[in-house]
């Protein structure tokens, strides 16, 4: 194709440039200056007797589309020259300037003639020429025939209709003339918005009027445009108006182009609202006409009446979906719900312990403090009859109770808890009930808030094969967590992630929950017992033994029952547990930790994450002395279960275990049989073994039999 001129980067030929009948890429919203780069080199041409051809490069629209019509002339006769430049017919003359300039060899502009009022073009504006063309007349620009002269056109306009030109006559030659039309398409600005394109075919209705219809039978099939802000809705006009079925437009939006078409090829501006989309063919045609309404590009709702359309458009909630629209099912994908399952939870938020210790206190002790406490407990000078016991006896006389019974428990943890719990207070005394025991050589940390967790560490989980073998059932992943147990995991949840292992501890029961957290999200958690219960000299040793044996990890089973003779029930856990009135017993089930009954007195409820429930013990505990005196013996029955003390023998570090099914693959498998593919492409892009799932065979010269043979072979496997 011979290139005669350029529009921006587009190469154009006088011989092949068609008449424009559709949309062009030059969209110029209003009002901005419009520039299009057109360089036009026109060398010597021979005389031509030909019908003039015109090239409409613009488009009919509410916006401005500059267009250029190149008019070749053969030098015969007088009249019009050069080119035709057109904009909207409503362009005001002052919005247009035609400069004829001259540049020197260095590209510096040396002369600049502004045509009077934009040369002859101004005479054509304001509607004098229905087709709105600009005509540059040779007579007003005599320098146009000389070398190095350029013509620059600056056009400013906001609106107007560019209408299609028809053929015209006259051709002229131009010699050694360069035309540079400074219309820069790079300045175009297309606003953001939603493009929509609706096909409107037929819809059901009844024609009841036999009034004379318009002469022209037509129906609009398409509606398109761009909505840049606000909302727009269509609504069906009721009845048949003057032989027309219509859709109305209600909007608070800004449009960028609104056009209709009867053939989806030629588009025209929507000139009236409501706009007609159906005419009946014959004026005396009555009855029910079957017609269907369907839409292509989604987004624009169509309502049955104006009121519904208005309600939705005027809804102060800009995001309210048009659920009442007749085409809601079609456009609903364009209105996705905002996270119907809740807010995004990209990172798990953990809670905190806010409860404070009221009637019992927690003391974090080191060995020296415990030695001192236990020694003081037995401090009694038999000679002087003084010491702690002496005080205790006095207390007994005074209060009639045994302050030793307030010792509720002692547990050992496999870490320094002062690094875990920060809300503590250091002091050198503890209270036995109301009795303050001063520590001379050591101190304890009294727990104010038992709020803290152990961040054990982070480990990365990586795939082994990076293919299907990494997942169940071909690869199984297990995790061992100290003091918790050994559990299977869903491998797919952990691959490619760094897993943080965190322990939450219940200091009162020794229970713990180990959490597996990946990328800030809690993926799995498992319960266990991390606190090793230590027997207290004056507590029920049998109770301790029972509780230790009754600690159920994940293979818990039968509860331990201890019954006293004569109805003195020590405690009884399990399904037959005796409770105080109104308290529920903890069911001993698989995987639950036992309720460990420690304390005495009413209302000591043990509850922990590992426990299915707490047992409120209302019966006073018996001391070992009492048991022995009563001749009772606790008996236990349980299957062997691990205790937290025994867990100290097991690994103190977590580990992950992968059980991987290994393939016994032949070395020739891929070469002879390939591997699963599901790839799409053309046959020529494959090599080696190829087995086809489906094929759209293109094979022009093969017979039907041969084509089927090819298909059969492709589906059974070929070698390329």
């Amino acid at each position: 194709m011979a290139v005669d001129f350029m529009i921006g980067a587009k190469e154009c030929s006088l011989d092949t440039m068609p008449h424009a009948t559709g949309a062009y890429p030059f969209y110029f919203p209003t009002p901005i200056p419009v520039y299009i780069d057109v360089s036009f080199n026109y060398s010597v041409m021979s005389s031509i007797n030909a019908v003039a051809t015109g090239y409409i490069l613009g488009f009919t629209d509410n916006n401005m589309y500059p267009f250029i019509r190149i008019d070749r002339q053969d030098g015969h006769g007088s009249g019009y020259g050069g080119f035709w430049f057109g904009l909207g017919s409503a362009i005001m003359s002052q919005d247009y300037e035609c400069h004829v300039t001259k540049y020197d060899d260095n590209g510096t502009k040396t002369e600049d003639y502004v045509t009077q009022g934009g040369c002859d073009a101004t005479l054509w504006w304001g509607g004098n020429i229905p087709n709105g063309v600009v005509h540059i007349n040779h007579s007003t620009i005599p320098v146009i025939l000389e070398d190095n002269w350029d013509m620059e056109i600056y056009a400013y306009q906001a609106s107007g209709d560019v209408q299609q030109l028809g053929a015209w006559q006259d051709l002229k030659n131009y010699t050694s003339i360069n035309f540079d039309y400074i219309l820069n398409a790079a300045d175009e600005v297309i606003p953001d918005g939603h493009d929509f394109h609706i096909h409107i075919g037929w819809t059901n209705g009844t024609w009841t009027s036999d009034q004379q219809p318009p002469v022209t039978m037509a129906y609009f099939q398409g509606l398109r445009g761009k909505i840049t802000s606000g909302k727009m809705a269509l609504y069906r006009m009721s009845g048949i108006i003057d032989g027309k079925l219509q859709l109305g437009i209600y909007s608070n939006a800004t449009f960028y182009g609104l056009e209709t078409s009867s053939d989806n090829i030629n588009w025209n501006e929507v000139s009236e609202n409501p706009y007609t989309f159906f005419y009946r063919k014959h004026f005396n045609e009555l009855g029910t006409f079957g017609y269907a309404l369907y839409e292509s590009t989604k987004y624009i709702p169509i309502y049955g009446d104006f009121e519904k359309a208005k309600d939705w458009v005027d809804d102060p909630d800009p995001d309210a979906p048009p659920v009442d629209a007749d085409n809601w099912d079609d456009i609903s994908p364009d209105y996705p719900p905002d996270n119907p399952t809740g807010d995004p939870d990209d990172e798990t938020e953990f809670g905190e312990v806010s409860s404070r210790n009221m009637f019992s206190q927690l003391y974090l002790c080191n060995v020296s403090a415990l030695y001192e406490i236990s020694n003081d407990l037995f401090d009694y000078d038999v000679t002087t009859l003084t010491g702690l016991w002496d005080d205790i006896k006095k207390g007994l006389e005074m209060y009639g109770s045994n302050p030793m019974e307030v010792v509720q428990g002692l547990r050992y943890y496999p870490c320094d808890l002062s690094q875990v719990f920060q809300s503590v207070q250091s002091q050198n005394y503890i209270y036995f009930g109301a009795y303050q025991l001063q520590l001379q050589n050591s101190s304890v940390l009294k727990v104010i808030y038992a709020n803290g967790y152990i961040d054990l560490g982070t480990i990365a989980i990586k795939r082994g094969y990076n293919d299907w073998r990494d997942f169940e059932p071909y690869t199984k992943v297990f995790v061992y967590l100290p003091y918790v147990g050994y559990y299977p995991l869903e491998a797919r949840k952990y691959y490619g992630k760094s897993v943080n292992i965190r322990y939450y501890i219940d200091l009162r029961t020794g229970a713990c929950t180990a959490c597996l957290i990946a990328n800030g999200v809690l993926l799995d958690w498992f319960d266990g017992v991390i606190g090793t219960e230590m027997p207290i000299t004056l507590t029920d040793y049998s109770s301790y033994a029972q509780s230790q044996l009754n600690i159920i990890m994940r293979n818990a089973g039968i509860g331990i029952a201890a019954e006293g003779v004569g109805g003195n029930v020590i405690h009884k856990v399990g399904k037959n547990a005796i409770t105080s009135a109104g308290s529920a017993a903890a069911e001993m089930t698989e995987g639950s930790a036992a309720a460990t009954v420690i304390g005495t007195g009413a209302g000591v409820t043990l509850g922990a994450g590992a426990l299915a429930g707490g047992i409120a013990v209302g019966t006073a505990m018996k001391t070992t002395f009492d048991l022995m005196r009563d001749g009772t013996a606790a008996h236990t029955k349980t299957r062997p279960a691990s205790s937290s003390m025994i867990n100290q023998y097991l690994p103190q570090y977590p580990f992950f275990r992968f059980e991987i099914m290994e393939i016994d693959e032949s070395a020739y498998l891929n070469e002879l049989y390939g591997r699963p593919s599901n790839a799409s492409g053309i046959i020529g892009n494959f090599s080696g073994y190829l087995e086809v799932e489906d094929v759209m065979l293109i094979c022009p010269i093969a017979t039907d039999v041969e084509r089927q043979e090819i298909i059969d072979l492709l589906k059974s496997g070929i070698y390329i």
Binding site: Q361, L364, I459, R657, I660, I683, Y719
Partner: protein, 150 residues
């Protein structure tokens, strides 16, 4: 029909191989005495020594490769029964056809399970331990004494 050339080959490639390995035995010229479909051609040719090796042919006029079955009619003539090899003949024509591949040597998806892969009976066990752990000791505040009281 005018004479046409037949190239006689020996091929060891299977039927489902597109680009067959073949060895040219000889080139003969002949013509069809009667109407015959291009996919199935039977022709008698003069005896040639290595007739028994001929199992493949190409007829340029028909733009086709053929599988050949040789029958020795008598001492002077050999009858060639030929059936078109569509897979090899028209590859340049159908290689631009769109497909969805089920299995492929060149374009495979590693995330699709391959049921053609047998497994060893015993799984491999891999253990990965963390480089962090609890550190039970008697130092530090590792005991919790629970007391009723103030």
């Amino acid at each position: 029909m005018a004479d046409f050339t037949v190239q006689l080959y020996n091929t060891s490639s299977a039927h489902n191989v597109v680009h067959k390995q073949k060895t040219l035995l000889r080139t003969i010229t002949g013509s069809l005495k009667e109407d015959t479909p291009m996919e199935q051609i039977t022709m008698n040719v003069g005896y040639f020594e290595d007739y028994y090796r001929c199992n493949y042919a190409y007829i340029e006029k028909f733009h086709r490769f053929y599988y050949v079955r040789v029958l020795l009619i008598d001492g002077d003539q050999v009858r060639l029964t030929m059936k078109s090899d569509a897979l090899s003949s028209f590859y340049d024509g159908y290689k631009n056809s769109k497909i969805i591949a089920k299995r492929s040597s060149s374009n495979c998806n590693p995330n699709i399970v391959d049921n053609a892969s047998p497994f060893k009976p015993q799984p491999k066990i891999i253990t990965r331990k963390a480089n962090f752990s609890f550190t039970p000791s008697s130092s530090g505040y590792c005991y919790v004494l629970t007391m009723g009281g103030k």
